[in-house]
């Protein structure tokens, strides 16, 4: 009789903390223990006594990767409870948010979390060394998902893009804070909300 145990004390490339123990006898899995050591945050209890306005801001922080889903789910639950019907526009915008989230999290999952296994490398960073083009594409895809969620995808031929192309003031950016090329490129320095 052959006995084997598989033990992964800390599962890598997943969000959250956990370990897995598998006991195998005669090629038969006898015991599987999944241990989750993630600390409890008790979000359900944190929500108690809060105003409905605050729920979304709290719930979206349950998980960083699927924050958009948590946001939309929480809003829908509240709307159901309060008997609110949202406009088609709101509904569509939420759909866009979720699509952005899907693009981002799937690209993250495929390229950064799952794919390294198939190439027998520890992480996306090593994968980038052997397959730079593919990884760069994956990251760009992920970035697109993020930019959809952030509402910072450039829509051509609107006033805002025209406004940001020329003036001395706008070229040096409107706010004190944005810094780093990354930030600047992704955000429209003159929010076109006036007029």
């Amino acid at each position: 009789m052959s006995k084997r145990t598989l033990s992964i004390p800390h599962l890598g490339r997943v969000e959250g903390h956990g370990g897995i123990y598998v006991r195998i006898e005669d090629d038969e899995v006898r015991e599987v223990n999944l241990e989750v050591y993630e600390g409890s945050r008790y979000y359900e209890a944190l929500l108690r006594g809060k105003h409905v306005d605050d729920v979304q801001g709290i719930i979206t922080r349950v998980c960083a990767i699927c924050s958009a889903s948590h946001t939309v789910a929480a809003l829908m639950a509240l709307e159901d409870a309060l008997g609110i019907t949202v406009s088609t526009r709101t509904h569509t915008l939420r759909g866009l948010l979720l699509l952005g989230s899907t693009i981002e999290s799937h690209a993250l999952h495929i390229f950064a979390l799952a794919l390294p296994d198939f190439f027998h490398v520890p992480s996306v960073l090593e994968l980038a060394a052997s397959h730079p083009r593919e990884v760069t594409f994956g990251l760009k895809l992920k970035q697109l998902g993020n930019r959809i969620q952030e509402g910072s995808v450039d829509v051509p031929s609107t006033r805002s893009t025209r406004a940001s192309e020329g003036s001395a003031a706008s070229r040096t950016s409107a706010s004190c804070a944005p810094s780093g090329r990354n930030w600047r490129r992704r955000s429209n320095p003159w929010p076109a909300r006036s007029s």
């Binding site: 390294p116 992480s123 960073l125 730079p132």
Partner: protein, 265 residues
Amino acid sequence: MSAPKVGIFGLTGCAGDQLQILNCEDELLRIAERVEIVDWVMARSQNDSNTPLDVAFVEGVVATERDLAYLKSIRARSRTLVALGTCAVWGGLPAMRNELPREVLRREVYAGGAEFLDTREARPATDFVPFEFRLPGCPIERHEFLRLLNAILCGGKPEFLNVPVCWECKTRENLCRVVHYKEVCCGAMTRAGCGARCPSHGVPCAGCRGPVEEPNYDANITMFQDRGISWVEIARKMEAFSAPVWMKLGLEREHARERARGGRS
């Protein structure tokens, strides 16, 4: 000279600050060339948990005994330790209801049958070990992270301004949430750096980046009360992201005063 060894760690939290590192899509691969990331459970499957680290980033709150032991082990092997995000720096949302015993929270969420949970009062990582840098934000701002990293790698110390969100909010010419909308906005008490993202989208500041040094706490409360906002509303807004520190700064005192007046129980 070999590349500096870096570790990225998460205690209890949503992994949002680590994700923000992965969200530096344009810079990530270059970062990986400049440093050697030897320990990053979220993004790597083979991790070296013993090598001494030049720089370690830690996000999340200490909410279990395991978290605490993990944090201490990280401190012991790291030369420069950086607290990432509001959870690590101030306590964040998980610490919001610290006035309730863990036991009560647990029963509320899991009823009976979860007695095995390793759980302790959620506190910021900075309460337990010394940190060289603190980068608040829920989540952290990518541009601040990159600035900090570039500075650490060149041996410098970046300057993060100790000024309130109003600084950025005014330069974006937003309609003031307090003056024009009579809302509870934590902007005047909260550290800038986010580009006043929420007020720029028509939502008052929730204080997610934690307090600026020496906020004029009393004047803020008076300001809201003068606009007819009830204490309950002020408190619910303020005690979200940086609850432990607000408590320290006087929210607790106000609570007591209110109780004495027979207000909120």
